[in-house]
């Protein structure tokens, strides 16, 4: 079974995908919050710093301001670098650790991220101290970037571990589940092919699967009880009918022994034949019922050589055909094999050939062909089967020619039931002229 056609394959992939997506979403959200929060923090610190320096300028004048700016620059901490620039309105640096005035308007006290010539990204705010002096205060964002990087790495590791854990848990639990369901499916396959004694495994965990297994077992045992009952009824019907028929037959034999009258003997003989006809009909009906009940059941089927069986049956009928003046031809490709019950194939072919010979006039031709598939055809050039009868002739007690013909009209019904029991189907077609009976695997045109 492919990865995507298995329920578990699909489920595992979905779970992994969902866990990757949720890890990514969580990371995006966390980064956004941290980024905005640190940004705000930097902005607050820059604003406090610039307000402080502005106060110093107002109270202490430019000299004091420069002094204090220099002091602050000397006390730089490494993680959170400060940037200052005191400049003329045209942007010429008076003091500070920035050489060039960035694109920030001091008149509007503009703030924002700016990139220094050496590539450092800083957050800065500008202000106009007096018409001739403007001040810029900034903080670098390296600490923020480092924090965000750490978060990213943490999430990558956590996300990877999460997916790995989910994958491992998912793999083992789906494998377990898959094994359990696989065992249930195996049991059903076995049951489906006729072995009704197979029990669906119950794990004793009391979960839904166990409930399913228990229900299935209950159904199977009911099914096998029904089949046994069906068999029992068939066997008992046969037994209870055949036994008195045999007693009757014995009495007829005894009566025949006691008379010399040939007319009596003939009548008693016919009565005995009637008994045999009843038995034959009963057997055919029970065979049909039993074949239908066992449809799909693979027990009793074995690999058999259809070509050999067909050749043997053709040989059995060859002499009869010759006596009837019918040309019985065979066109059998050797080595055609299938899983079937050989006795059933013999019987189907014997019925079809017998029918074909019965309905073909002297001088006619009957042809038996076997092709891989298997595809077996019995073709005659007799009167054929009227179109409206081609499906109906496979029903019980239906005959094309109700007058004259011997038998109960069960031969084709039985052949069809036996064919279906072996996964085959018989169809009747027009052979132009004559009838064509084709046996082929069921469900294939």
């Amino acid at each position: 079974m492919g990865l995507f056609s298995s329920l578990f394959g699909r489920l595992s992939l979905i779970v992994i995908l969902v866990s990757i997506l949720s890890a990514a979403a969580l990371w995006t959200m966390t980064e956004w919050i941290v980024r905005t929060e640190t940004q705000a923090q930097i902005a607050r610190s820059v604003d406090t710093d610039i307000a402080g320096l502005a106060d110093i300028y107002i109270t202490g004048g430019p000299g004091e301001l420069r002094q204090r700016m220099d002091d602050r620059l000397q006390l730089q901490s490494s993680g959170d670098r400060r940037y200052y620039l005191l400049a003329t309105p045209s942007g010429i640096a008076i003091t500070g650790n920035i050489r060039q005035w960035p694109e920030l308007s001091s008149e509007n006290s503009e703030a924002g991220l700016v990139s220094l010539p050496d590539g450092t990204a800083i957050f800065a705010r500008a202000t106009q101290l007096n018409p001739d002096l403007k001040l810029l205060v900034g903080r670098d964002t390296a600490a923020q970037s480092a924090l965000l990087n750490r978060i990213r790495i943490a999430f990558l590791i956590a996300g990877f571990l999460l997916v790995l854990i989910i994958f491992v848990i998912g793999y083992f639990s789906t494998r377990r589940l898959k094994n359990r369901i696989g065992a249930i499916n195996d049991a059903f396959r076995e049951i489906g092919s006729g072995n009704l004694a197979t029990a669906v495994p119950v794990d004793q965990r009391g979960d839904e699967l166990d409930e399913l297994s228990r229900h299935s077992n209950a159904m199977t045992s009911r099914l096998s009880a029904l089949i046994a009952a069906h068999r029992d009824i068939s066997d008992h019907t046969a037994h209870e009918l055949r036994t008195p028929l045999m007693h009757l037959d014995n009495r007829l034999v005894a009566a025949m022994r006691e008379t010399e009258d040939s007319a009596h003997i003939a009548t008693l003989g016919r009565a005995r034949q009637d008994i045999r006809d009843i038995v034959t009909m009963l057997d055919s009906l029970l065979d049909i019922a039993s074949s239908r009940a066992q449809k799909g059941d693979r027990t009793g089927l074995s690999e058999c050589d259809v070509s050999d069986i067909a050749a043997e049956i053709a040989e059995l009928f060859a002499e009869s055909a010759e006596d009837m003046g019918i040309d019985l031809r065979t066109d059998i490709l050797p080595g055609v094999e299938m899983m079937a019950n050989p006795a059933h194939l013999q019987r189907i072919l014997s019925n079809l050939l017998d029918n074909a010979l019965k309905y073909t006039p002297r001088g006619g031709t009957v042809k038996l062909a076997v092709r891989p598939g298997p595809n077996i055809t019995v073709r005659d050039n007799g009167p054929g089967v009227p179109e409206n009868m081609r499906d109906r002739i496979f029903e019980r007690f239906v005959r094309v020619d109700a007058s004259g013909a011997k038998g109960h009209g069960l031969g084709l019904a039985l052949s069809q039931a036996l064919a279906e029991r072996n996964g085959l189907i018989i169809v009747c077609r027009d052979a132009q002229p004559g009838a064509l009976f084709e046996i082929r695997p069921e469900g294939r045109d």
């Binding site: 046969a238 037994h239 045999m246 043997e312 002499e319 017998d354």
Partner: protein, 227 residues
């Protein structure tokens, strides 16, 4: 002809009487057991030539009995005589280890012929390289037939048929026996195919010879007899 000691396991009294009477006509002595347990015990403990076994007994099935006998290593020939006569039933019986299967109602001659053939087969009388009967010879290995020293050309199936007649020479061979043993069919095709095939063999065996050898026994089957 040896007289056989036969154990008949049968709960139906009428059938039991009929079998006893029928077999008595050929000099065989039948002991009847009316239930499965008794039948199983006697078949394992006493000495019989053959067992005729009913299938549906009140206490156990004939299939169980034969399975138990075979499991215990009892190789006595068993003929199942049953009211279940469908192909499926026959195959089940044969698979369980019975040597032959006859469905009720049956012809008396058929029963006698089956019992005789089964006994012959079991005692190994039929296994030799050349079977000679009257003026006929059947060479099993060379697969050839001869009459009065002349080769009679037969098709492979005709030879099989001839061989079976020779193995059961002088005895009645029924259509059902031929169907099962020569054509390996466990059902009656309800046509005269067997008669036609036997007829063909008869012509080959008798054409050009003055005495017939293959006789039709009305209502029973055929018999090869020596001249």
């Amino acid at each position: 002809m040896t007289n056989l000691r036969i154990l008949h396991v049968e709960d139906d009294e009428q059938t039991a009487n009929m079998v006893t009477e029928t077999m008595a006509r050929t000099g065989d002595r039948v002991t009847t057991a009316s239930n499965g347990k008794d039948g199983l015990r006697r078949a394992s403990e006493e000495s019989f030539d053959l067992v005729i076994l009913d299938r549906m007994l009140p206490d156990m099935t004939g299939i169980d009995i034969v399975a138990k006998l075979r499991a215990a290593g009892v190789a006595i020939p068993v003929l199942m005589l049953s009211a279940l006569g469908r192909t499926e039933n026959r195959i089940e019986g044969l698979d369980a280890g019975v040597d032959d299967y006859l469905a009720k109602p049956f012809e008396e001659e058929e029963l006698v012929a089956r019992v005789r053939a089964l006994h012959r087969r079991a005692t190994g009388q039929a296994h030799s390289a050349v079977i000679i009967f009257g003026d006929m010879e059947c060479h099993i290995k060379a697969r050839t037939a001869h009459r009065q020293g002349r080769h009679v050309p037969l098709s492979p199936k005709e030879f099989e048929l001839f061989k079976y007649f020779m193995q059961n020479a002088g005895e009645i061979v029924t259509r059902e026996m031929l169907l099962h043993n020569v054509w390996n069919l466990n059902f009656d095709p309800q046509t005269n195919v067997i008669d036609v095939n036997v007829g063909r063999l008869r012509r080959k065996l008798e054409e050009g010879f003055d005495k017939p050898v293959l006789e039709t026994i009305w209502g029973a089957g055929y018999r090869l007899h020596a001249v």
